[in-house]
């Protein structure tokens, strides 16, 4: 993937930052239980979440401290989102959705730190979460509604002639949900970080360097927005899928 240009001295490797490397040992082989940099940064994300939510809200002050108010704002935000989209019944599954949101948000934001590793840029990480959501929602739909969950695919408000065609389209769109759900997050993270790296590569040419630094700053600001929006989008789609499972009748 590296674009090497020997003539102008540019040596840009935008995808090198996403390489999975073992933390210990030099042979570079990665097996099922190897501790890699992905493991390290996933663990750091979990530690940060626990520190914010457990230590931050430990005081339970009437007038919240700074960390407590951050935790309260995020909690209230996700609570309102679940209630608005999935309804009152959806609030039973609020802990799961909140866990997803805060983990993705913190993992994304940590990935923006210089020299860090963006775990959510790997499809393996996001696909795990997306497939988990898909399985949970599908099982939940059948447990809550029984066979009438299949009416999600049979749109009764459409003309009878169109219904089989629409059912086919609905089934296809149901099964590509985990694909788009996971690749959206991973693709956005990967593309943003690769763009920053490409502009950083231009900085070695002295007469582009100022423009390059300005561009990196601007893209970094954009990325800060994107990581929050992508965490929000992942969560809101989880709520939409949950709503489909709880209320399959259109």
């Amino acid at each position: 993937m590296a674009t090497e240009d020997g003539g102008s001295g540019l040596n840009i490797h935008p995808m090198d930052q996403f390489l999975v490397k073992p933390l210990f040992g030099n042979d570079g082989t990665v097996s099922m239980f190897t501790v890699t940099n992905v493991t390290l940064w996933l663990a750091i994300a979990v530690v940060c979440v626990v520190a914010l939510m457990v230590l931050g809200t430990r005081g339970r002050a009437i007038v919240p401290s700074r960390s407590q108010s951050i935790a309260e704002v995020i909690y209230g935000f996700v609570h309102k989102m679940v209630e608005d989209i999935a309804g009152k019944e959806g609030l039973k599954y609020f802990p799961y959705i909140f866990t997803l949101f805060i983990f993705i948000l913190v993992a994304n934001v940590i990935g923006l730190l210089p020299k860090s590793f963006t775990t959510t840029s790997h499809i393996a990480v996001t696909a795990t979460m997306a497939i988990a959501v898909f399985l949970v929602v599908t099982v939940l739909g059948f447990v809550k509604n029984g066979a009438s969950f299949l009416s999600l695919f049979w749109i009764s408000s459409a003309p009878l002639v169109l219904r089989p065609i629409l059912a086919l389209i609905e089934v296809i769109s149901y099964f590509v949900r985990p694909v788009s759900h996971s690749i959206r997050l991973a693709g956005n993270m990967m593309a943003g970080h690769a763009v920053i790296k490409v502009f950083a590569g231009f900085a070695v040419v002295y007469w582009i360097a100022p423009a390059s630094i300005v561009a990196i700053t601007a893209i970094y600001a954009l990325e800060t927005l994107v990581v929050c929006i992508q965490a929000y989008v992942f969560t809101i789609l989880t709520c939409v899928y949950l709503n489909d499972a709880l209320h399959p009748h259109h």
Partner: protein, 80 residues
């Protein structure tokens, strides 16, 4: 003029590049969603706050189709 290298791989790379043009369609779609949201929100700002979630869902669905073309590009690059 003789062509050196693997012709099939060249085709796969060209195809991957062409597949990525589909992402432009997703860009148009996302811009359309947000633009219409904004024009509606400026006409009736009181109702705007309640519809941001709907806007993001619309963005996500429009973006999903661009993601499929990106997926085809990735498959051509790494899987075929």
């Amino acid at each position: 003029m003789a062509i050196e290298g693997d012709l099939v791989q060249m085709g796969a790379y060209v195809g991957a590049g062409l597949a990525c043009t589909g992402m432009g369609g997703a860009a148009v779609g996302v811009g359309h969603v947000v633009g219409n949201y904004l024009s509606g929100a400026l006409r009736n700002p009181a109702a705007a706050a309640g519809q941001t979630a709907t806007m993001f869902i619309g963005i996500a669905f429009a973006e999903a189709l661009g993601i499929f073309s990106f997926l085809v590009a990735l498959l051509l690059m790494f899987a075929v």
